[in-house]
């Protein structure tokens, strides 16, 4: 054994320190007896070494029960709480901003903790307790400890085989080399030996420090590189290690129709060269049936006059563009026939608000709010036709920088007499130079705005009525 340097083979020089005195015993009974006598002699710092746990040595040495079970209990209970919180948070809480949970119902089980949470909670308790036991035991035992002077003693190798040892440490108050050795021999030791700690090569070599410094520096390189590329810009597309299903052999909208011919003589699958197919004429999207003419279009059913004959260009355009309302085209305003109250060439407009629209405070307030967003910019808050856009446009038109038709005052007698259906139609499809708001404003809101317009018309231009917002 190259490393062994016992007292007999190599006397301890100034560069070594005595740790203690080691005695060998040949059986466990004499070891237990020696431990008892060591304890009774007042020794505090001593330990026995054996190839297996010797029965009865704990009381003989005065070893107190370890606190390990309490440590394990504490960690196990912590594991239980963590498991419960984890399950509750990840499966029931989804309102947090960072790393929100994912609350969804499945197989009729509640989101919150339920019997379904028991297995994972149980396993986490076991896992955390097992870790606590394993690592706690080593920590309490102050292991791993690789540089132990005992391992340099040749004889001590039998401690893991078939011999029993007792070491009294030199730090012990009662320790005295000669007296302790004598006691060991009295107690039946078959061999006694000094344990020395070699102090000669305890300095960390210089190169090691340098290497550690360089190693630490090199360790910083990958995170710095990752950070740099993460926060910076790059001309190349990002590295796509796993493509998942990001690129597929399929045709998407806005792509060219598949070429079923050759590269030189392409034959496209569809005559119009598009990969996307337009829906058939008359196709209505789900939820867009809108059969109720009163509610969706504002006129009595069946009163829409037949459309004027279209030119070929108009028909082609309407294949792809949805049908416009009956009065969308610009031109001279259709006048009311004073005799019948009807508008020639127009359907029978409804005179009252159609179901399911409800006239009440709530819809009126909604109408005001929507009016002030969409309509007031031109028609003004009080509906007098002098909104901000109108003012600015007129100012520009005065210098010839723009063309502008003055926005209609909603208090105009011609407007005031209009049935609600016609006002609704104006909002939906526009009139004269006003554009349609069909796609911007849902149908209920258009009726709400109509209601508010009617309310404005009833009150007239009176800022005190509340139809005008506070002065800015």
């Amino acid at each position: 054994m190259a490393h062994s340097h016992s007292k007999t083979s190599k006397p301890a020089g100034p560069k070594s320190k005595t740790i203690g005195l080691l005695a060998q015993f040949d059986n466990q009974e004499s070891l237990v007896a020696a431990c008892e006598r060591a304890r009774d002699s007042g020794y505090q710092k001593f330990d026995a070494y054996s190839p297996f746990p010797v029965h009865g040595i704990d009381p003989a040495m005065g070893i107190r029960r370890t606190k390990l079970p309490f440590f394990v209990l504490a960690i196990g209970m912590t594991g239980c709480v963590i498991a419960l919180i984890m399950q509750y948070y990840t499966n029931a809480v989804d309102w947090t901003k960072i790393f929100p949970g994912y609350a969804f119902y499945i197989s009729g089980k509640p989101l919150e903790l339920s019997p379904a949470s028991i297995p994972v909670t149980f396993e986490v308790i076991i896992l955390s307790s097992a870790f606590a036991t394993f690592f706690g035991m080593w920590i309490f035992n102050q292991l791993p400890r690789f540089a132990n002077p005992l391992h340099r003693i040749a004889r001590f190798k039998r401690a893991t085989n078939d011999r029993f040892f007792l070491m009294i440490e030199a730090d012990d108050a009662k320790y005295d080399t000669n007296r302790t050795r004598q006691q060991f021999e009295e107690w039946g030791a078959t061999a006694v030996e000094h344990v020395d700690e070699d102090l000669t090569d305890q300095e960390i070599p210089k190169f090691f420090k340098l290497a550690a410094l360089v190693g630490l520096f090199l360790l910083l390189v990958p995170p710095v590189m990752i950070f740099r590329s993460y926060g910076g810009t790059n001309r190349h597309p990002r590295l796509h290690v796993v493509p998942d299903m990001d690129w597929q052999d399929k045709y998407k909208p806005q792509q060219v129709s598949p070429n079923i011919g050759t590269e030189k003589e392409p034959v496209y699958l569809y005559a119009d060269d598009r990969a996307m197919r337009a829906p058939l004429n008359g196709t209505i999207a789900r939820g867009d049936l809108q059969e109720d003419d009163r509610f969706f279009r504002g006129y009595e059913p069946g009163t829409l006059p037949p459309p004027a004959p279209k030119t070929a260009d108009q028909s082609a355009a309407e294949t792809f563009v949805s049908v416009r309302g009956p009065n969308a085209q610009d031109g001279a305003p259709a006048g009311q026939d004073p005799a019948t109250g009807q508008y020639p060439g127009e359907p029978d407009w409804v005179d009252s608000f159609p179901a399911p629209f409800q006239v009440d405070e709530k819809t009126l307030a909604r109408g005001q709010q929507r009016f002030e967003i969409y309509c007031s910019v031109c028609h003004g808050y009080d509906g007098n036709g002098n909104g901000r856009v109108n003012q600015r446009a007129l100012a520009l038109a005065a210098t010839g920088q723009a063309q502008w038709t003055t926005a209609k005052s909603l208090h105009d007698p011609a407007v005031k007499v209009q049935p609600v259906g016609r006002i609704f139609d104006t909002i939906s499809n526009g009139r004269n130079s006003m554009g349609p708001y069909r796609s911007q404003i849902p149908v209920e809101d258009r009726w709400a705005i109509t209601l508010y317009v009617k309310a404005l018309q009833e009150t007239g231009i009176q800022p005190a009525t509340g139809a005008t917002p506070p002065q800015q």
Partner: protein, 475 residues
């Protein structure tokens, strides 16, 4: 070493006056060390190399097929509508079940103070670890998009605001098997540290001294260390005992929590646990009979050990048989047509042949162990145990093949495994045996420190004192 005398073979009779020795041949501490360390120090028996060669080749095939699976997708397996689960989960449940015997021996028998376990617990625990490795491979590779395997665990992700579904039995499986693998590994390694220290102290080579020195963490065998070590060992055993019962219970929940006839039964958890112990013990016997023969450990792993294990095999085999019968009865008694059909179809349907193999191997063949000669003759018990493991694999297969005839006769399907399925099953055995052979080669196959604790104190010819069967541990 003394020769084995015939009276010491008859050693399962515990009559109070005569305590059966747990170790034969009057071995003392050094003899135990020499015998166990000899497995590692001496040249391996010639047969080690060919067996290792075959096992390693199969492992490589296994690895290659896993690579094939990753690149091609799970379509290389025979799984298809309606048999979405097939060999992958059959193999998973089979291997997890094998592992259970190891924990039972090391933890439950420890808590019950069954000191005969000391000679076999190390190898059985090693078997547990390797079986769990094989088991975890199958669900690990079946997930399709292997590169996002970490979605199995509750890991916060930056872009994907999603978490595992903690109400799903499949997620419970991840936790149960993960905890089981981890705890078994800690238990196995902790139990091995004192023996690794023996190897460290006996190692002649620098590499051996370094590696075993590192693994044994500077263990000295200090009484203060032993005290905490034994406390920790008892705690781990107490943790592993409910754990092992929970693992196969959770595995059975994969089936029992679903709403399928033939699966949605409350008998599954106990029936799965009994089956797991049954197949696990069969595997321990299958492994230990050749090991004790090849390495000359007959005095440590005695006929008594093998006989005890065979008795457990017989007992659990009867439990499994009872479960099969009760299942049939409950199906008949339930009056539910779908349930009755599921079981009628199991026994007499298109996979009736598998049911026949299962019933024969698991229920009838182990009955041979009623005969003393059968349960004390090593070569014969290995044959029975191999049949048991075949039967237990088929048990899981039979349960899975219930899927072939589901509610919709239009989608009925006769499952056929592909070559990838079959070679992966064989390959997993290759992996298992490779690991086990390496374990025999490099690690202490028998827990020396525990065996030394149960042999008589002064086993130098004159034994028979009352300390012969001291408690394995002092608490």
């Amino acid at each position: 070493m003394a020769t084995v005398d015939l009276t010491s073979l008859d050693n399962t009779i515990e009559d109070g006056k005569h305590r059966a020795p747990l170790v034969l041949g009057g071995m003392d501490y050094a003899d135990v060390t020499d015998a166990v360390a000899g497995v590692w120090e001496k040249k391996q028996p010639a047969i080690w190399w060919p067996i290792f060669g075959v096992a390693l080749s199969l492992t490589l095939v296994f690895g290659a097929l896993i690579g094939h699976l990753f690149f091609k997708g799970v379509g290389v397996w025979g799984n298809n509508n309606p048999t979405y689960w097939a060999f992958d989960i059959v193999n998973f449940v089979f291997w997890v079940g094998i592992g259970h015997a190891g924990t039972l021996i090391s933890a439950i028998l420890f808590l019950f103070r069954q000191h005969w376990r000391t000679s076999i617990n190390r190898a059985a625990e090693a078997m547990t670890i390797f079986a769990v490795i094989c088991a975890a491979t199958f669900p690990g590779i079946h997930i399709g998009r292997i590169w996002v395997f970490y979605w199995l665990f509750p890991v916060p992700t930056e872009h994907l605001a999603m978490w595992p579904n903690f109400r799903s039995p499949l997620l419970w499986d991840v936790f149960a098997v993960g905890t089981y693998a981890t705890t078994s590994l800690l238990f196995w390694y902790m139990g091995m540290v004192p023996d690794l220290a023996t190897f460290r102290d006996r190692s002649k080579s620098k590499i051996g001294q370094f590696v075993y020195g590192l693994l044994s963490l500077g263990w000295t065998g200090s009484a203060r260390n032993w005290h905490r070590y034994e406390t920790a060992y008892t705690i781990l055993a107490a943790l592993a005992t409910p754990l092992v019962l929970s693992v196969h219970t959770v595995v059975s929940f994969d089936f029992a929590v679903s709403q399928l006839p033939g699966w949605h039964t409350t008998i599954f958890p106990p029936y799965f646990v009994a089956g797991a112990i049954f197949s696990g013990f069969a595997m321990v016997v299958t492994l230990l009979v050749p090991v004790r023969k090849l390495y000359g450990l007959e005095n440590l792993i005695t006929i008594r050990h093998l006989e005890n294990m065979n008795k457990i095999i017989m007992a659990t085999g009867l439990m499994v048989g009872t479960a099969y019968t009760i299942e049939l009865f409950i199906a008949a008694y339930s009056g539910v047509g779908n349930e009755q059909f599921a079981f009628y179809n199991r026994a007499f349907g298109n996979f009736g042949w598998a049911y026949f193999i299962m019933f024969t191997c698991n229920v009838f063949i182990p009955q041979l162990f009623w005969i003393k000669w059968c349960r004390t003759t090593p070569w014969f018990m290995v044959i029975v145990c191999i049949f048991v493991n075949i039967g237990m694999w088929f048990e899981r297969f039979v349960i899975l093949m219930t899927l072939c005839r589901d509610f919709l006769p239009g989608s009925w399907f006769y499952y056929r495994p592909t070559y990838v399925d079959l070679m992966m099953l064989i390959g997993s055995f290759g992996l298992f045996f490779t690991l086990f052979l390496l374990f025999c080669r490099y690690l202490p196959v028998i827990a020396m420190s525990e065996v030394k604790n149960v042999i008589p104190h002064d086993n130098h010819g004159h034994h028979g004192d009352e300390h012969a069967a001291h408690p394995a541990t002092n608490h």
